[in-house]
Each structure stands twice: as C-alpha cells, then as structure tokens.
C-alpha cells in the first residue's frame, strides 16, 4: 500500500506540474465564464440612445413609436430632401421615411442613415410599424384593442413535482439542461483521462520503465496507482474549473455592475414587448424550477457515478495500453471500449423522450452505460432503489474490469514485439498467476 501511495503521488505531481495542465485550468473556466458573461455584456453594452427622425407622409404613424432604452424618435414635417441633408450633417442616427402607403400593400418605406444601420434597429422599427398597421387594420374591422386582448389566449402549464417533502415547481427544460451538462461532463472526463491513462501506460511500457519498476512494485499496484493518480488530477482540474468559473463569472458581472436579475427588467423595455415577456417568463420559471431538482442527490450521484465510471473505463484503458507497443496499435482495442460511451451519448435523446421508460431503466443497470444515462435521468427524478441497484452493478462492474485489466496488464507490460489480438488477450486472462 505504501508503494501505491508513492505511485499516485508521482503520477499526480508530474501531471499537475505540466504546463498543459496549467493552461487547461485557466482556459477552461474562461470559456465557461464567457458563455455567461458575453451575452450579458453584449446586451448591456449598447446603452447610448439613438435618435431617429420620422418623416411620416401617410399620417398613420404620428406619435405611434414608443421610446426605448436604445431608440428615441423625433417627428419632423419638412420635405424629404431637406430631411436627408439634415441627417447627413446632423447628430441623429437616421431618418425613417414613410410615404403615402396603401395599408394592404405598404411599399416605399425607407430608412436613410449616414452609415449602415444595425439589423437590430431595423428589426425594432419593422416590429413597431407592424403592430401599428395591425392595430389600424383591426380597428377598420371594428375590433378594438379590448376585444383583441380578450381574444388572445395565453396558456401556460405549471409543472409541479410531487415529492415526499412537498410540491415544487418543475421544469422539463431545466432538467434537460442539467441532465445534459452532467452526462456530458462524465463522458468528457472518462474520455480525456482514460486516454491519459492509456498514453501513460504505453509510455512506461515502450520506454521500458516498467521493467525497472516491477522489480520493486507489483504490477497491480502500478496499474492502480496510475489510474488513481490520473483520476486525482482530473478531479483537481474540475475543482479548479468550478472555483475559477464562479470567481470569473461573479467578478466580471460585478465589474459590469450587472446581476442576472437586474438585466432582465431592462430587456422588457425593448420594442418586442410580447416576445420578451415570454422569454423572461421562461427564465424566471427556470430559476424557480431549479428548486425542484434535488441538488444534494445530484451532487452525490455525480460524484459516485463519476468515480465509478472512471474506474470502470480507466482500468480498461490501462489494459489496452499494456497490451500494445504504441498508440497506433491501441486504436483497434480502443474502439470496443469507446463504443459503449459514444452509444450512451447518442441514446440520450431517446432517454429524454421517456426518462422513466424501459430503455432508460435497463441502460441504467448496465455499468458500461449507467453513468452517462443516470446523470441524464436524475434531474427528472429517479427512485432511490433504482439508483442503489444501478450503483451496485456499477461497483461490481468496475471490480470486474479491474480484475480483467490486472490479468492482462501483468503480462502485457512485459511483452514486446508480438502482435496481440483478442485471442491472445483471452489466453492472458486465464493464464495462471
């Protein structure tokens, strides 16, 4: 046991010391933070109000545009040529010219500006004009605003999850997002660090370091030391990512003096009131329904499935590394190990459709698939007995793969030059001692 500890320590220290680890630790959180911060930053950056002159020959739009945080309007009454020269020389952003139009087929509406106007401004104007025209048309059909409002139906199904501890607002959207993120994280972790184990074993084997090491260490200890050491590096990386992401996100948001809640009402002032309202409702609903997810269970499950999956796949990767002489030879054995992983990712959409279905259930029981599948399902709520059963199988699974791997590893690391195929691997498995 003393030796396993030494091996873990060496694996951990040499890897954490590498430049690539440092770079990944910094770049990762920056990427994560930018996913949050950039959209917020973009939405708050555009604070200066643009003034738009309206020259309305039709008379339909007089005083009908509402000022927003980004646009304000001036209604003018000169002729078009004078107004155009005014725009060129003046401070105002642009001129919206509305000629006498046929409401059924409005044509000739033009926006003049000194520079190319932003798509956003044009869309805002189009939206505003559209609703004005619609209102006029409704009036013509003798439908007033009140009738219209009463006609409009807004249906929103409230989702309540009933649990023993009470009822909580639920949301399929939130569960999906959280499920996807945790499933992807487990997938990513196994892949990245599994490959690191594989490479590490191949390096030790091809440079004949094992020959020196196995005279003082049992092959099984060497293998487990590597798997655990690399795993510890992975966990460290995740913790760094988590902490740095939170720090960077909060740091940058407080710098821009924005908080997610504050930025929401600001958006409602924009022109497309109806749409925005729905968006906000969705976001608000999302925040509410976060409560419905049992984060304690989620964190626990993530941790155990994470470790279980890593040990299960990690030992298989170690076995592959021990059997081959170089990375290229590893390809053929890597495929059968990575297929279950990729399969569980592909099947996620089917799981989403029916998180409690029989496909979901059975895949959650098979250790090769259960970690990714279960992380997808847990936000939707999975009975405790299912989790317990699935974990039992997972533990049995990684004990089995570790045993399998150690049989192959002990012989593989000392074998050189011979082309290895599945039949030979099978022979190694049952070789005595």
């Amino acid at each position: 046991m003393h030796n396993i500890f030494l091996i873990i320590q060496r694996e951990y220290i040499t890897r954490v010391r590498k430049k690539s680890f440092l770079i990944m630790s910094i770049v990762g959180p920056l990427l994560i933070a930018s996913l949050w911060v950039v959209p917020i930053w973009l939405s708050t950056r555009d604070t200066d109000q643009k003034t738009i002159e309206i020259l309305d020959d039709s008379g339909y739009f007089n005083e009908k545009f509402t000022e927003t945080s980004s646009l304000k309007f001036e209604y003018i009454q000169t002729d078009l040529v004078a107004a155009k020269t005014e725009i060129l020389s003046g401070e105002n952003y642009g001129l919206l010219y509305i000629p006498r139009i046929n409401l059924d087929d409005p044509e000739g509406i033009t926006f003049f500006s000194g520079k190319n106007p932003s798509i956003e401004v044009i869309q805002d104007l189009e939206w505003a004009m559209k609703s004005v025209v619609e209102n006029i048309k409704l009036e013509r059909s003798s439908i007033d605003q009140a009738t219209l409002d009463s006609l409009r139906a807004d249906i929103d199904i409230d989702m309540i999850n009933m649990t023993e501890s009470g009822e909580k607002a639920g949301s399929a959207g939130v569960a999906t997002i959280i499920g996807y993120i945790s499933a992807l994280m487990i997938y990513f972790f196994i892949f990245v660090y599994g490959i690191q184990i594989l490479r590490g074993v191949i390096e030790e084997k091809s440079s004949r370091i094992v020959e020196v090491i196995v005279s003082s260490v049992k092959p099984f200890h060497l293998m487990m030391g590597k798997i655990l050491g690399v795993g510890a590096v992975g966990l460290t990386q995740y913790v760094i990512w988590l902490v740095l992401s939170i720090m960077i996100t909060t740091g940058i948001s407080s710098y821009f003096n924005i908080d997610r809640k504050d930025s929401l009402p600001a958006q409602t002032e924009q022109v497309e009131v109806i749409q925005e309202d729905q968006g906000n409702e969705f976001v608000a609903e999302m925040f509410n329904s976060l409560e419905s997810i049992d984060f304690g269970l989620l964190a626990f499950a993530f941790f155990v499935y994470f470790i279980g999956a890593y040990l299960l796949y990690g030992s298989l990767f170690a076995a592959i590394g021990s059997a081959v002489d170089n990375d290229a030879d590893a390809q053929q054995f890597q495929l059968p190990v990575t297929i279950p992983l990729i399969f569980s990712l592909i099947v996620l959409t089917a799981i989403l459709r029916e998180p409690d279905g029989s496909l979901a259930f059975w895949l959650s029981m098979i250790p090769l698939f259960s970690p990714v599948i279960m992380m997808m399902r847990i936000p939707f709520g999975v009975p405790y007995w299912e989790i317990a059963l699935s974990l039992t199988f997972l533990i049995a699974g990684f004990i089995f793969t570790t045993w399998l791997a150690s049989r192959i590893y002990r012989i593989g690391i000392l074998m050189h030059g011979s082309k290895v195929n599945y039949r030979i691997l099978g022979k190694w498995l049952f070789m005595k001692n």
Partner: protein, 286 residues
C-alpha cells in the same frame, strides 16, 4: 524452461550466459518474483523466498528506461522509496553515490537531457541504492564507453567485496572472464554448463599449444598433431599443436627443441568465448 537447477554461492559473481532467447531474462524474472514458475521453487538464504527477500534484491534489467520528464534527483528518490527507503535515507544514499561518480551537478537535470550512457549510470545507482544483498545485472555495460565500463566493473567488484552476491548476465565474454567466479550457460531453456570458472576452464582444456619457431618441424606422429600453421609478423612460424592425453607438454617441447628453434611456447587455454560457442554449437548439432 525446464529442469533448471542452479546454485549461486554467496558473495560471488555468478555469470548467467546464453544466446539470445535462451531464457535468461525469464529465469531472472522468476528469481525476482516478477513472474512465477509453473513448478519449482526459488530459495534465498537457504529457505524459500518471500516478499521481504525481494526487497533485498537490486535488479537492473537489460531493457530499461526512466521517466524522461523527471529530474535525476527526484527520480532516484522515487525509485529508492519504492524499495522501502525513507526520504531521508534516500537523500543520504543519493548524495553518496552521486559524489562517488562525480555527478552531483546532474541532480537537477531532467532525464531527457542526459545521454544514454549517463542514464545507464543513474539506472545503476538506482539498482544498488538500497544496499541489496543480491544484485542482478542484465547487460550492465551496454551503452557505456570503455572508461565507464571500467568504473562500473570496479564498482561491481567492490560491491562483492562488501558482501553482495551478484548475478551477472551478459554477452560480453571478456567481462565474464574478468569478473565471474561461477558460470552457468543456458541454451534453449536448459542449463548446459554450470560450475566455477576455474573448473570449467580446466574441463575444457584441449591439450593444444601454440608454438612460435624458426626452422622446419617435420616430425609429427600420432601423439602430436599440427592443426594450423601461419607466419607471424616477426617472421616466425606459428603452429597450433595438439597432443594426446598421455603426452605432457614437456614431451612436445623436447621433441620440438631437437628440430627447431623455439621462440615461444604457450598452452592454448580456451576463452569463455570459445567454450560458449563450441557448447552452443554442440547443442545445435545434437
């Protein structure tokens, strides 16, 4: 491998010889308990070997490597600690050996910055850092220049003087000749020769003599047989003469001086190389 029965005397240098693929490495791996024999036992100090004994061994494998990215000092500490030394013991030992080899300033160098020979030195130090009582060296001289070969040879002799038993596997017969007290020759997983170097050499004497002379030597008979004749740089004729077992070298000499002028007379003692080759060929033809 079958019917291998070897005894390595304490505090001796035991040469384990054999052509490529003879099973030397397998035998060594069995001794060091890296792999286990299907049948048969390894005894250490007169009793069956246990895992504690393995700690008292130092094994330098033929194919060997080090972690390229590690520094010399920390690598040695790592290997020493795997052998059960504490950090402080390891540091003391490393300092001693680096000093001895005059390479103290390598301590902070990365392994990948060392030449192959330099790496071999580090590996040698790693093998003996925990004062093993049994040292197993598989081709310890590969990658060394002649100066370093001598340094390592001296170290091996000193280790033996200090009480260590050394098993030494190599193809370099001249170092076997120089260092080994006992020799075992393995071919095709069988021991074909085993004993002290002295005995083996005695047993392989061929009663052949090398004579440099001037004149003409014609009087060969059934007791004396000239195998080879050539001319030396000095203008002498060099003949290799084999005598039958009932004749003594003096008989040959007295015969010679009657006919020719003898400038040099020497018994042709077979080198380990000759014995090795003739033994392996014998097996091949059998």
């Amino acid at each position: 491998m079958k019917d291998i029965n070897l005894e390595v005397p304490k505090q001796s240098i035991f040469g384990l010889l054999g052509p490529n693929g003879a099973g030397k490495t397998t035998l060594i791996r069995i001794i060091t308990q890296i792999i286990f024999a299907d049948t048969g036992k390894v005894h250490f100090d007169g009793r069956e070997i246990n895992s504690e004994d393995v700690r008292k061994m130092g094994y330098l494998p033929e194919e060997r490597g080090l972690y390229k990215k590690m520094k010399v000092g920390e690598h040695l500490i790592y290997l020493a600690r795997l052998k059960g030394l504490s950090r402080n013991e390891a540091l003391t030992k490393i300092k001693y050996w680096l000093n001895k080899f005059h390479i103290v300033d390598w301590s902070d160098k990365k392994i990948e910055d060392l030449s192959k020979g330099m790496q071999q030195k580090i590996q040698f130090i790693a093998t003996i850092i925990h004062d093993p009582s049994l040292i197993i060296l598989d081709e310890p001289f590969s990658g060394f220049d002649p100066i370093n070969v001598n340094i390592i040879k001296d170290e091996i002799l000193e280790l033996k003087k200090n009480g260590a038993t050394i098993i030494f596997s190599t193809h370099r017969m001249e170092s076997v000749e120089e260092l080994c007290d006992h020799i075992a020759l393995i071919n095709k997983s069988n021991v074909i020769l085993n004993g002290s170097k002295h005995d083996i050499k005695q047993n392989h004497r061929t009663n052949t003599f090398i004579v440099d002379y001037t004149g003409e030597f014609r009087n060969t008979n059934e007791y004396f047989q000239v195998n080879e004749e050539s001319e030396t740089d000095e203008g002498y004729i060099r003949a290799t003469i084999k005598i039958t077992n009932d004749q003594s070298p003096n008989d040959l000499l007295s015969l010679l001086i009657r006919e020719v002028e003898v400038h040099s007379f020497q018994e042709k003692i077979p080198t380990m190389n000759d014995i090795f080759i003739s033994k392996v060929n014998e097996e091949l033809n059998a």
